[in-house]
């Protein structure tokens, strides 16, 4: 299946990402800024000189407090945003589980959204047809699949989103705090599916506030704080150090 590369599946080479925090976005302010030679906003670094690699089949956890740059790292891997400097290399099809069902259209039925979302994730129409029954079964939405998704509960929404993403046959699964959707039963089901993926050798990147989940699920972990890579290594070691250095109770929770 994999034809390219022996090297790492993900590689960050001295990656920095900065945002221009603009206070306004009108042409008037742009004109003013050009005339007065004032910057349009101030620079904010979400990541600074971060380098790490993830090998094929590895499970990497990214931990850190709110606003530390975790999600930015995930977005860089997903290809949604480009690094300001440095290089991000990713091999294969990426399926981001960042906010499940982001691509759903409320007026379309579950069935139509499976097709739409699947094609956004890079599946061909034929692949979607092949996977359709499995997706619906996994999401446990057989009865409601022809109902517009605006009538869905948030749990149903998340289940369908998760089901499409995991059936898109990604080479690389990105998971961002999504396991908070659905009831405990469905969360366990998602985790089980992720364990199966892990066992089957899929590369998974998991972003979480929960150190317990990271040390249970991941082989390796990186800890990011204020945009800097603080520590990289075995998941248990990184989590232990994170818990030691970060005062208990700050930014914890799933």
């Amino acid at each position: 299946m994999r034809t390219a590369s022996e090297g790492p599946e993900i590689e960050f080479r001295n990656v920095s990402k900065s945002f221009l925090l603009r206070d306004s976005r009108s042409l008037r302010d742009l004109a003013q800024a050009i005339v007065t030679r004032q910057p349009l906003g101030h620079q904010f670094f979400a990541l600074q000189n971060v380098s790490f690699t993830v090998d094929h089949g590895e499970t990497l956890g990214i931990i850190g407090r709110n606003g530390s740059g975790k999600s930015t790292a995930l977005k860089l891997i997903a290809g949604v945003t480009a690094p300001t400097s440095g290089e991000v290399l990713v091999v294969g099809r990426v399926s981001p589980l960042i906010e499940l069902g982001a691509g759903f259209h409320p007026d379309l039925t579950g069935r139509e959204n499976v097709h739409l979302n699947g094609s956004i994730l890079g599946m061909t129409s034929r692949e979607i047809e092949e996977q359709f029954d499995a997706i619906v079964e996994f999401a446990e939405l057989e009865e409601f699949i022809d109902t517009p998704v605006k009538r869905y509960s948030s749990g149903m929404y998340g289940r369908l989103g998760f089901a499409v993403a995991v059936h898109s046959k990604p080479d690389l699964l990105l998971v961002d705090e999504v396991l908070s959707v659905g009831d405990a039963f469905f969360q366990e089901k998602c985790l089980n599916r992720m364990r199966e993926f892990k066992a089957s050798g899929m590369t998974i990147v998991l972003v979480s506030h929960s150190p317990a989940l990271v040390s249970e699920f991941c082989d390796r972990a990186i800890w990011i704080d204020h945009g800097h890579l603080m520590r990289e290594g075995h998941a248990d070691d990184v989590v232990a150090e994170y818990l030691e250095k970060i005062p208990h109770g700050s930014g914890v929770g799933v």
Partner: protein, 282 residues
């Protein structure tokens, strides 16, 4: 298994290489399933929860045709043109114009309108404005249905030269897309763009021979204004091939095609250059 994604990629690298326009276009073709689903999504969203639904696609052109015919034919006494009744003359120009203006307006808003998608998952972003433009083809189709009924009413058949229509319309399509791409991208950074588009479309309407013919009454020294306006050239050509049975003015259509293709290449290039920053700017 065929993969829709290349295996090795550097996500969202901006490149100054014009060749990238062509490699971009091929990856676009690879994702045509996505384009189709996105168009359906737009289409479903368009008239949902409105009582008349798709009937609105009839109401808009029909009501404009009636009121304009009244004003310009009955009050201002613009008579039939080349033996074509004024309402028919008007409508052959109005339908493509309405397509152009609604496609441009909705294409401009398309990327901003899909903010939740753009910030979360990568796919070729040009799918969004392209789908918005394709959606308007449905309205155009309804417009031509009304035109067919109108021609039936006046007892006229399309002239034999109508076979030139697909070619002419293809040029129109390329032109609309080429304008839509950079506007959709710029609208993300400056929301003023959508208002600017509204103003420009109003002015452009008057500089396009929709309500008046492109004939000898146009002073010679202003002729160039219409020559460099593909909308004017194409609407004149539509009238020739559908109503008058004469070939288009190929010199002018040729220039229009050059402008359309140039606009497309430049517009697509600008879009791709700006694409990497989309998620950060929404």
């Amino acid at each position: 298994m065929a993969r829709a994604y290349p295996l090795q990629r550097k996500p969202l690298r901006t490149s100054g290489n014009p060749i990238s326009v062509f490699s971009g276009l091929t990856s676009f073709w690879v994702r045509r399933d996505l384009l189709w689903h996105m168009t359906v999504r737009h289409l479903r969203g368009q008239y949902k929860q409105s009582v008349l639904g798709y009937a609105w696609a009839f109401v808009n052109p029909l009501s404009q045709m009636v009121i304009m015919s009244f004003v310009f034919s009955t009050i201002l006494k613009l008579g039939s043109q080349n033996n074509v009744p004024y309402p028919l003359f008007l409508f052959v120009g109005l339908v493509p114009w309405l397509f152009f203006s609604s496609a441009l307006a909705s294409g401009t808003d398309s990327v901003v309108g899909a903010a939740s998608l753009v910030t979360k998952v990568y796919f070729p972003r040009e799918v969004l404005p392209t789908a918005a433009v394709l959606t308007k083809l449905v309205d155009l189709f309804f417009g031509f249905l009304i035109l067919a009924m109108l021609m039936l009413y006046y007892g006229r058949a399309p002239e034999a030269t109508v076979y030139w229509f697909p070619l002419l319309f293809a040029i129109h399509m390329i032109f609309v897309l080429g304008l839509t791409y950079p506007l959709a991208a710029l609208n993300l950074y400056y929301h003023d763009v959508r208002f600017l588009v509204g103003v420009v479309l109003t002015l452009w309407f008057y500089l396009t021979p929709v309500i008046y013919p492109l004939d000898d009454k146009v002073p010679h020294k202003y002729q160039w204004v219409f020559d460099i306006n593909p909308n004017a050239v194409l609407i004149d050509a539509y009238r020739r091939v559908i109503l008058y049975g004469v070939e288009p003015d190929w010199k002018k259509v040729g220039l229009g095609a050059v402008i359309a293709v140039g606009t497309f290449l430049l517009g697509y290039y600008i879009f791709k250059r700006m694409e990497a920053g989309f998620a950060d700017s929404i």
